[in-house]
Structure formats: structure tokens, C-alpha cells
């Protein structure tokens, strides 16, 4: 176990690339296709993000929590979390889920909140889930998913499963009850989980310096009795290697760890937020220069693995895929009215059947009832 922990620590580097994209450490032993996939996947997520923002501006969908700038976090993480492992998340991890098995059709259906959305249009936009790839439903409340992931990891341990639970949250969530209880329980229980703090500098309008007096988010781990590591979140290799090491460490029985991924939220908190009111353009410009996509493109170009023209072809291909799916989702029906009272409980109880039937009576009287909206038997 000690050797696993030592191996994990050795695999974790703050960064593998300079801001200009030049390697500064021995690269992981991977074929060139693996590195090209990292770039292609980042480009794919950026295309998805840009399309969603366009749809939001056009009034087709209601809300986007942009992942612009965090593509290296999402791709590095997605490639590190195996299909048996779990991803517990907050607002901005939908891209990682997409790369791990959440179908694009379900992603876009959820953005439209239509009848093809597996959550039946009940959550606001940008709240994804995918049971098949172990990506549970999450709420908009900050930090509440953290003890869920810990409980699920503890369940895995009790059930003798080898899966590891990765638990993502933002820098703001480190101030929440859930962060404290989750970190503490996991450390005491030695749960097979990895806490991933995506530090993008801002919790809506509150910067890191107003969120904590700690020198870093990673160092909070020490007080709970687990290792903490801070890694460049705009370097997909560094993200991948660090998370892989900590997942395997947890899988070996060595317990949880905290990984802080330093990145930057290039857009507002959401499509409803105007960040120019509270942050300095100079800071945005600094991080624009650290954009993970051109940085990684330079790395691939220097290696002779992918040139600019090939990168552009990737983008065109991604956009064709996304646009085709948008056309399908545009045409999908809204949810039937009866779904208002379904899934509150396993069975619709009498009081909800009555409430719905009374509502349906009014809809029928006004000629507004649709097929499938019929009353419940009482």
C-alpha cells in the first residue's frame, strides 16, 4: 500500500507542458493517437459549448453553464475515470460525462428539457445524468453531492466492488457543509474515492481570496488526514496522470485524496451572468493566453502529430455531428402534463392523483388537454 502511495505521488506533476506547449517532463508512455485524442476531445467539448451558447442566445434553450476554459480538466479526467468508476459532479462536468458515455442526444435533450430527456424535463438546463456510465443526477445546491459520493464509495467497499468514486466540485464548494462532512467521513472510513476541486478562480462573483484563507485548496486535505495535490488544470496530461494515480491509489485500499485542478472560468458563471461587473479584463486576458486548446495544439504541432489544417478539419467534423443532433432534439415533443405528479414516489399516491385530476378537469374544460394527459383512476 505504501508503495502504491509512493508511486501515485511520483506520477503526479504540477504540469507536463509549459504555457507555450513545450514538454518539461518525461511524457507518459502512450501512442501519439492518445495525445491526439486529448486534443480532439477538447476541441469537441469546445464545439459543444459554443453551440449551446448559440442556442441559448437564440432563445432555444434557457441556460448554459459554460465549460469554456476547462476542457483540459474535463478531457484529462474523462480519460482517467474508467467505465466502472463513478463521476459525481456539479455544474461544469457535463463535458467529462459526454466523453465517458453520456450520449450527445441525451446531453442536448437535457438542454432542451424535452420528452427525450432522461430526467423528463424536470431539471433546469445543464443538469445532466447518465446511469449507464455511473454519472448520477445532481442538484443545484452546492456541495451536497460530496457526501453522496462518499456514501456510495463506502457502499462499494462494503459490497466488495473495486470501483472508485470521483467527486467533482468547484472552489466555492470547499466552503460548504458537504465538503467538510464528505472529506471527514471519507478519511475516517478510508473510502475508495477521489475529491476533485476544480478551482476556476470564481464562485459566481466571489474570487478565491474571498473564499478561503488557506494557501491552497489542496492543503485542506492535510487537516482531514489525506494527501492533497495541486495540478495545472489547463494541462490535460497533468490532469490525467494525477487523477489516474489517485484513482489507482484509492482502488488499492489506500483511501481518499484531494486533487485541486487550477484552471479559469473564461465565461460568466452562466449564460445569465455578466462577469465584466466584478472582474478585471487583465485577468481574463492573462488566462486567454493560457487557453488549453492552443497550448496543446502547439505541443502536437511541435511533435509533428497534428498541424493546424488537421485541427480545423476536426472542428468541422465535430460541428456536423452536433448540428445533426440539434435538429433531432428541436423536433422532440415537450413532456406530457401527467409527468407533473409522477416520480414523486414509486407509485402516484391518492392525493397527487386527485390534485392532477382536478387540474386536468380545468384543462379539459378549456379545451387545453393533450392526448396522454388523461385523468388517473382514483
Amino acid at each position: 500500500m505504501a508503495s502504491t502511495a509512493a508511486k501515485a505521488a511520483a506520477q503526479i506533476r504540477e504540469r507536463y507542458l509549459t504555457w507555450e506547449g513545450a514538454p518539461i517532463a518525461d511524457l507518459p508512455d502512450r501512442p501519439k493517437e492518445w495525445f491526439i485524442d486529448l486534443y480532439s476531445s477538447m476541441r469537441y467539448l469546445r464545439c459543444v459549448d459554443e453551440r449551446m451558447l448559440k442556442l441559448q442566445r437564440a432563445g432555444r434553450i434557457g441556460f448554459v453553464g459554460s465549460m469554456l476554459g476547462s476542457e483540459a480538466v474535463l478531457v484529462g479526467a474523462a480519460r482517467a475515470i474508467s467505465s466502472d468508476d463513478w463521476l459525481w459532479s456539479g455544474l461544469r462536468e457535463g463535458g467529462a460525462a459526454l466523453l465517458r458515455g453520456l450520449p450527445l442526444s441525451e446531453y442536448i435533450a437535457q438542454m432542451y428539457c424535452n420528452s427525450l430527456d432522461t430526467a423528463k424535463g424536470r431539471q433546469m438546463c445543464n443538469h445532466f445524468q447518465h446511469k449507464g456510465s455511473h454519472y448520477p443526477s445532481w442538484s443545484s445546491v452546492i456541495g451536497t453531492q460530496i457526501p453522496h459520493g462518499v456514501g456510495a464509495a463506502h457502499a462499494a467497499k462494503l459490497r466488495g466492488l473495486k470501483e472508485v468514486h470521483t467527486i467533482f466540485f468547484g472552489d466555492g464548494a470547499t466552503s460548504s457543509n458537504g465538503f467538510h462532512s464528505g472529506m471527514n467521513f471519507a478519511a475516517v472510513w478510508k473510502s475508495p474515492c477521489v475529491f476533485v476541486c476544480v478551482n476556476n478562480g470564481w464562485a459566481i462573483s466571489v474570487p478565491a481570496r474571498a473564499q478561503t484563507a488557506s494557501g491552497s485548496y489542496a492543503q485542506k486535505a492535510l487537516a482531514y488526514g489525506m494527501p492533497g495535490h495541486q495540478v495545472d488544470g489547463n494541462d490535460p496530461i497533468a490532469v490525467h496522470e494525477a487523477l489516474t494515480a489517485l484513482i489507482e491509489r484509492a482502488r488499492s485500499g489506500a483511501g481518499p485524496a484531494l486533487l485541486e485542478l487550477v484552471t479559469y472560468r473564461m465565461m460568466g458563471h452562466s449564460s445569465s451572468d455578466d462577469p465584466t461587473k466584478y472582474r478585471d479584463q487583465k485577468e481574463v486576458d492573462l488566462w486567454t493566453g493560457r487557453d488549453p486548446l492552443p497550448r496543446f495544439a502547439r505541443f502536437l504541432d511541435q511533435k509533428g502529430w497534428l498541424d493546424g489544417a488537421a485541427a480545423e478539419r476536426l472542428e468541422a467534423e465535430h460541428n456536423r455531428t452536433i448540428d445533426a443532433e440539434i435538429h433531432v432534439q428541436e423536433a422532440a415533443a415537450p413532456m406530457p402534463l401527467r409527468s407533473l405528479v409522477e416520480d414523486v414516489y414509486a407509485e402516484v399516491p391518492l392525493h397527487l392523483r386527485k390534485q392532477y385530476n382536478d387540474f386536468h378537469r380545468i384543462a379539459e374544460r378549456l379545451g387545453q388537454a393533450q392526448p396522454g394527459d388523461g385523468a388517473f383512476p382514483l
Binding site: K131, S139, T144, A152, A153, S181
Partner: protein
């Protein structure tokens, strides 16, 4: 058939569930070797091991949050909150997460779990060991709220709660933990959630109550009998989802209703019963519905036996509805 107290019946239910289903586990503060502050979990760690009955760090938010994760990942957690007064750090996890998970995920994810917690006054516990917070939770769609008043029901309702596909808040009347004993069947049986229980026959007036107020209602009914009033007593047992049909049936049959609970009155559970009768059965009523409740104050200490409704206050309400 063994004769058990209510808290022994809870213990028996937990053991029965854990013997039947390996995925059932019990955790909370001091529930392990100590067996809980009221001994509800006594002997569980010994019989089932520390992997299935264990102490957690001291965080209600963590206890309930972790329970949700366990439920999502294939276990049947039974979490204990040591006193219902301490449940509020977990309010967010109960209300925002456990109760809404099925709905918000379109039925993809569910949290079949039980939160057991002793509630109510009568043990000189002051503000923070005495409260009855059922109304907060009954206002939460997606949650079930169960309150037993007898050892038989405590066991049968707890087993039904553990087997239920939805999250259940199981409120145990700590004032009754050791004050009543009755024969409780050995082994497995359930009492269906959402069904009320007729406690006492009567054709003149009905008292709707639950938990620790049930014996208070019975005592008042016995005193009323001496005055010539035949008072029916109904134990609601499950507050959410409520046996609405049963409540209305009793109200219509009798025409005079008293609602009794120890929680504060304003926006309390009695208001719901009263409104339900006003909306659905007012033409059957021979008198206004009268509520007997705790005061709209924090829970007192030295004066708790005046805060808590007792037989004389219930009898006064019965006399008022009978005289109307």
C-alpha cells in the same frame, strides 16, 4: 409472543430487517457498541459486525448525505439522528436531495432509505431534546413521514419503511419508548404505510392524533365517557402520505372533530387535517374542528408538562365540540 416496549420493538425490527437482508445497515452517532443513547440499536454491532452497525463522525449532514449515496449504490441504509432536534444540519440533504432524487432524475435514481429519530417532549430535555418537527417534513413532496405509537406498530411500520422504495422519516415518540409494553409478534411482519388505525370506538366525536399524543387522547376519551360522550380515537400513524379517505370517513361518520398534536399550532399538521375536512366534509360537520396543540413557542423545560397537551386540555376541547 414476547412482550416488548416500543424501543425494544424498534430494536427487534432492526434485527429482523438485518437478518433478512444483508444490504440493510445501521449507522449514526453512538449507535455502535453503546447501542444508541436510548439503546434502540443495542446488540446490533455484536450480532452483525461493525461493518453493518457503526458509529459515524458527529455530523448529521454527513450521516444523511452518506446514506443517500449508499442508497444510490445498492444498500438499504437506516440512519439514526440522535434527537430530532439535531436533524436540521441534515435538512438540506433530506429536503433537497433524498426527497427530490426520484423526481429530478425522472426515476433513474432513487434513495430507498430510512432516517430514524426520537422526537417529542416529556423527558425534561428542554428546547433541544424535545421538539416535534413533523410539519417541516410533511411539507416536502417525495418524503414519507411515519410516527408509530405502539410497540406493535413501531416494529411493523419500521419494517415497512425499510422495505419502502422511497425515503422515509421515521419519528419515534421517545416519551413512549418505555412507558408501554405489549405483545409483539416474533419475526417479520409489516404494517402498511399510509393506513390509519382506529384506537377506540365512539360515535359522538373523533380525536385524530399520532405518536405520544395517542395515550393522551385515550385518557381524555375515557374521562369523556364518564360525562356521557362516546369519543373515538384515531391514530394517523403515517402523516405523509396520509390516509385521507380514512380521515374523511371518520370525520363524516362522527361530525365532531378534535385534532391533537404536541408540535406548535401555527401551520402544524392539525391545520392540514382541519383544512381537509373543511374542503371535503364540511356539510357533515356539527361543530368547528378544534385543535389541541403545543404552544407557538420554543419548547420549554420546567413547564413542559403544561406546554404538552394533556388529558384535561383534550377533554376541554371534546366538551367544546360536544356543546356546540
Amino acid at each position: 409472543m414476547p412482550t416488548l416496549t416500543l424501543v425494544q420493538a424498534v430494536n427487534d425490527a432492526l434485527k429482523t430487517a438485518m437478518r433478512r437482508d444483508k444490504s440493510v445497515l445501521v449507522f449514526g452517532e453512538d449507535v455502535g457498541p453503546k447501542g444508541g443513547v436510548f439503546l434502540a440499536t443495542e446488540g446490533l454491532t455484536t450480532e452483525f459486525g461493525k461493518e453493518r452497525c457503526f458509529d459515524t463522525p458527529l455530523s448529521e449532514d454527513g450521516i444523511v448525505g452518506a446514506a443517500i449515496g449508499m442508497a444510490i449504490n445498492g444498500l438499504r441504509p437506516v440512519a439514526e439522528i440522535q434527537f430530532q432536534d439535531f436533524i436540521f444540519p441534515a435538512f438540506d440533504q433530506i429536503v433537497s436531495e433524498a426527497a427530490k432524487l426520484r423526481y429530478r432524475s425522472g426515476g433513474q435514481y432513487t434513495a430507498p432509505m430510512v432516517i430514524r429519530t426520537p422526537y417529542g417532549g416529556g423527558i425534561r430535555g428542554g428546547l433541544y431534546h424535545s421538539q416535534s418537527g413533523e410539519a417541516y417534513f410533511c411539507h416536502t413532496p417525495g418524503l414519507k413521514v411515519v410516527v408509530p405509537s405502539t410497540p406493535h406498530d413501531a416494529k411493523g411500520l419500521l419494517l415497512a419503511s425499510i422495505e419502502d422504495p422511497d425515503p422515509v422519516l421515521f419519528l419515534e415518540p421517545k416519551a413512549l419508548y418505555r412507558s408501554i409494553k405489549e405483545e409483539v409478534p416474533e419475526g417479520h411482519y409489516t404494517v402498511d404505510l399510509g393506513t390509519l388505525r382506529g384506537v377506540r370506538e365512539g360515535k359522538d366525536c373523533v380525536v385524530f392524533c399520532y405518536g405520544a399524543m395517542v395515550p393522551v387522547a385515550v385518557k381524555a376519551a375515557e374521562q369523556a365517557a364518564e360525562l356521557g360522550h362516546e369519543v373515538r380515537v384515531v391514530d394517523l400513524r403515517t402523516l405523509l402520505p396520509l390516509d385521507e379517505e380514512g380521515v374523511l370517513e371518520h370525520a363524516k361518520q362522527v361530525g365532531r372533530v378534535v385534532v391533537l398534536h404536541e408540535a406548535p399550532r401555527f401551520c402544524g399538521f392539525g391545520a392540514e387535517i382541519s383544512a381537509m375536512i373543511a374542503e371535503n366534509a364540511i356539510e357533515y360537520m356539527d361543530a368547528p374542528v378544534v385543535r389541541v396543540t403545543g404552544f407557538d413557542t420554543p419548547f420549554p423545560n420546567t413547564l413542559e408538562h403544561h406546554y404538552l397537551p394533556d388529558a384535561r386540555r383534550v377533554l376541554d376541547a371534546i366538551e367544546r365540540v360536544m356543546a356546540y
